[in-house]
């Protein structure tokens, strides 16, 4: 057995160990990397920035679950910080699936620890109602009617921030944060049907699929993966938004090293493959 074929039969636990270390070491050694801002992120930032302070609210939909939390939560907190720092009102919407409300709650806890924001005045938190697409459509008719009460059980009619907010006409931008195909639901139902402007924050997996919608303007902007969140954090920083912990930016060093390792593995694997195949042919 030659070197390459032995190499290819390496116990995969060694590979597991390598990946683990490639993430761990840069985190502990605090290797940081500069981040360049890409147009889709800039566009989303600008769209949020254009919302009038103390005017109509931005809607931030949390359509993600813990499995994508590490990528998507930094986006949510970065956007929330941006809004609270500028005095932009926010409707946090727990999203179309049950677990989203928990994520929204977490994001609020983190950001309200840094900014004085009060429920009903600076933000409103809407919970989960089953029905997915039906709920998105329903909000186009009447938001208060769809939910009735906020996440804490307070009647929406009694919240000052929602005075004059009836449906999508009163929401300049919806940003949907999701790792699934939910943003398409927003584009189709809120966007196509009600003309709502929609932005998206999504996982790196889904990002590639959303470029067609970006190009047509169906999405106002997009944050893709941890890198997208790090870019937003950078824009926040440039705009003077106070952020205590820039979680996404910190992770960029590990991300770089792990990618390099991954590429090295693919290249080595392929070299091994061609060498062994050729040997197999000659023999």
């Amino acid at each position: 057995m030659g070197f390459w074929s032995k190499f290819l039969k390496l116990d995969r636990r060694w590979v597991f160990l390598m990946i683990g270390l490639s993430v761990l070491i840069p985190l502990v050694a605090r290797i940081s990397m500069p981040t360049a801002v890409t147009p889709p992120v800039q566009n989303l930032f600008d769209a949020v920035d254009a919302i009038e302070p103390d005017g109509k609210p931005l809607m931030l939909a949390f359509d993600f679950a813990p499995d994508t939390e590490p990528e998507l939560m930094p986006m949510a907190t970065a956007i929330l910080r941006h809004c609270f720092a500028k005095g932009i009102k926010v409707i946090l919407y727990g999203g179309l699936y049950p677990q989203g409300a928990g994520m929204a709650q977490l994001a609020l806890e983190e950001v309200t620890a840094e900014y004085d924001a009060e429920s009903g005045i600076d933000y409103v938190f809407l919970g989960y109602v089953p029905g997915a697409g039906a709920v998105v459509l329903s909000m186009g008719e009447d938001i208060k009617g769809t939910f009735g009460r906020d996440y804490y059980g307070v009647r929406l009619d009694s919240l000052p921030m929602l005075n004059g907010v009836r449906n999508y006409d009163d929401i300049p931008l919806v940003v949907d944060i999701s790792g699934s195909s939910v943003p398409i639901l927003w584009v189709l139902y809120a966007g196509a049907r009600y003309g709502q402007e929609v932005g998206v924050g999504t996982t790196a997996v889904s990002a590639a699929q959303y470029y067609p919608f970006l190009q047509t303007g169906q999405f106002a902007g997009m944050l893709g993966g941890l890198k997208g969140a790090a870019e937003y954090e950078k824009l926040n920083e440039d705009a003077g938004v106070r952020q205590i912990r820039k979680r996404a930016s910190i992770g960029m060093g590990s991300q770089s090293i792990a990618h390099i390792l991954m590429i090295a593995l693919i290249v080595l694997g392929n070299i091994g493959y061609f060498v062994t195949v050729r040997k197999g042919r000659n023999a």
């Binding site: 009038e52 109509k56 009836r166 006409d169 300049p172 699929q209």
Partner: protein, 391 residues
């Protein structure tokens, strides 16, 4: 005067006086508000159930990149005298849809002013002529979607009907499918089984249905070649369906006795436990061919990796776009997206599958025509074709 004698009220007065003065001082330092927008027009918002008025205006002369205008505030009146604030839009926008408690059959007047960040507000524009909101019965803006829907329905009905009447509808060969025959033959030669994974989703998934349509002919071939097939399932309902399908295929091949009841089975609904179990089967049984057809999620790469390591010929097909890259790199043949549906129609020859596939092909021809024609016209700056598809 009395109040000034004691220090506290005096302080209060000072404060009260100084605050607005101070604020005003900051604002009046840079007066020079932008010019107001012009030509404000209000009319009934089209295509709605009433309760909305569309207001449009010409942008303020100072509304450009770097200009002073930050946005526009829209004010409304029912009598042309008392105006109330109804909404705000950002700069560069010249229309506003007023839906704030708009009543039907009441005339509304509108005025718009431009706002700036540091230069105060402009004067009001001249008021618009009155507009009355009414409900419409048909949404003219959606006429295009209505026409497309009707057209597509007729296409489907026509082709499904002609397929039912037994008309031959041509479908091109699918590369991965041809490999199935070869793979079944190889399995027989080697005396090893074929593994068929019908995806991890439920019966309501189109991909699962497509996979089962492919399973039938494959199982039949296996029966004819006297080879064997293993079908592990993640969904109990899918398991009962696949069992019936495989059994039926053996009967059709004239070898009902050769069907092994234990070859089609349900494992568990847990995603990763199922994956681990299928991995185990691949390692132990070393199937000659692995077919992964249907809906897959994150487990796709784990399955394909293990299969590749066992040296089996692997054919995968799914409409889960995010998983296709892993199948392409780790499998020998991959049936991509829509090809899976085409493959199921190709093999099953079911009229409703064939018919709708044909209708979809015509849809693609129409799309291609519009894309090409629209581009040719668009490059000549004629945009009427493109405008047909406004939503």
């Amino acid at each position: 005067m009395l109040s000034l004698r004691s220090p506290i009220p005096a302080l209060l007065v000072c404060l009260l006086l100084s605050t607005p003065v101070f604020l005003q001082a900051q604002e009046t330092e840079i007066p020079d508000p932008p010019p107001p927008p012009r030509n404000v027009v209000a009319r009934d918002n089209p295509d709605d159930g009433g309760h909305a008025v569309m207001v449009t205006w010409d942008l303020s002369e100072d509304d450009f990149e770097g200009g002073r205008v930050r946005g526009y505030a829209i004010h409304r009146s029912v009598d042309g005298e008392e105006y109330e604030y109804v909404g705000y839009v950002g700069k560069g926008t010249s229309e506003f849809r007023d839906t704030r408690e708009v009543l039907g059959n009441v005339p509304y007047y509108y005025k718009v002013l431009a706002r700036s960040r540091n230069h105060g507000d402009s004067e009001f524009s001249a008021p618009s002529a009155p507009a009355i909101s009414r409900a419409q019965v048909f949404h003219m803006g959606r006429l295009n979607a209505a026409i497309a829907t009707v057209l597509f329905i007729s296409l489907i009905l026509y082709y499904v009907r002609s397929a039912r009447r037994g008309k031959e509808l041509f479908i091109r060969r699918i590369a991965g499918l041809d490999a199935v025959d070869e793979a079944v033959g190889r399995a027989t030669e080697m005396g090893k089984p074929i593994l068929f994974v019908p995806g991890l989703s439920t019966m309501s998934d189109v991909a699962t249905i497509a996979a089962i349509n492919i399973l039938g002919p494959v199982a039949k071939k296996v029966a004819e070649y006297d080879s064997s097939i293993i079908v592990p399932n993640r969904n109990p309902i899918v398991a009962t369906v696949t069992r019936e399908v495989v059994k039926g295929a053996y009967v059709e091949a004239g070898r009902p006795d050769a069907f092994n009841e234990d070859s089609v089975f349900f494992i568990t609904t847990s995603q990763f436990a199922y994956t681990a179990a299928v991995d185990g089967i691949m390692v132990r049984e070393k199937p000659a061919t692995n077919l992964f057809l249907g809906m897959f999620w994150a487990e796709s790469l784990i399955l394909a990796e293990t299969g590749a390591a066992t040296g089996a010929i692997q054919i995968a097909g799914t409409d889960a776009v995010a998983q296709l890259p892993f199948f392409v790199t780790a499998c020998d043949y991959t049936i991509i997206g829509e090809e899976l549906y085409a493959a199921s129609a190709y093999l099953s020859r079911e009229p409703r599958l064939l018919g709708s596939l044909k209708a979809q092909d015509w849809g693609k021809v129409l799309i291609l025509f519009f894309v090409v024609a629209g581009t040719v016209l668009g490059l000549m700056k004629i945009e009427f074709l493109s405008n047909l598809f406004n939503v």
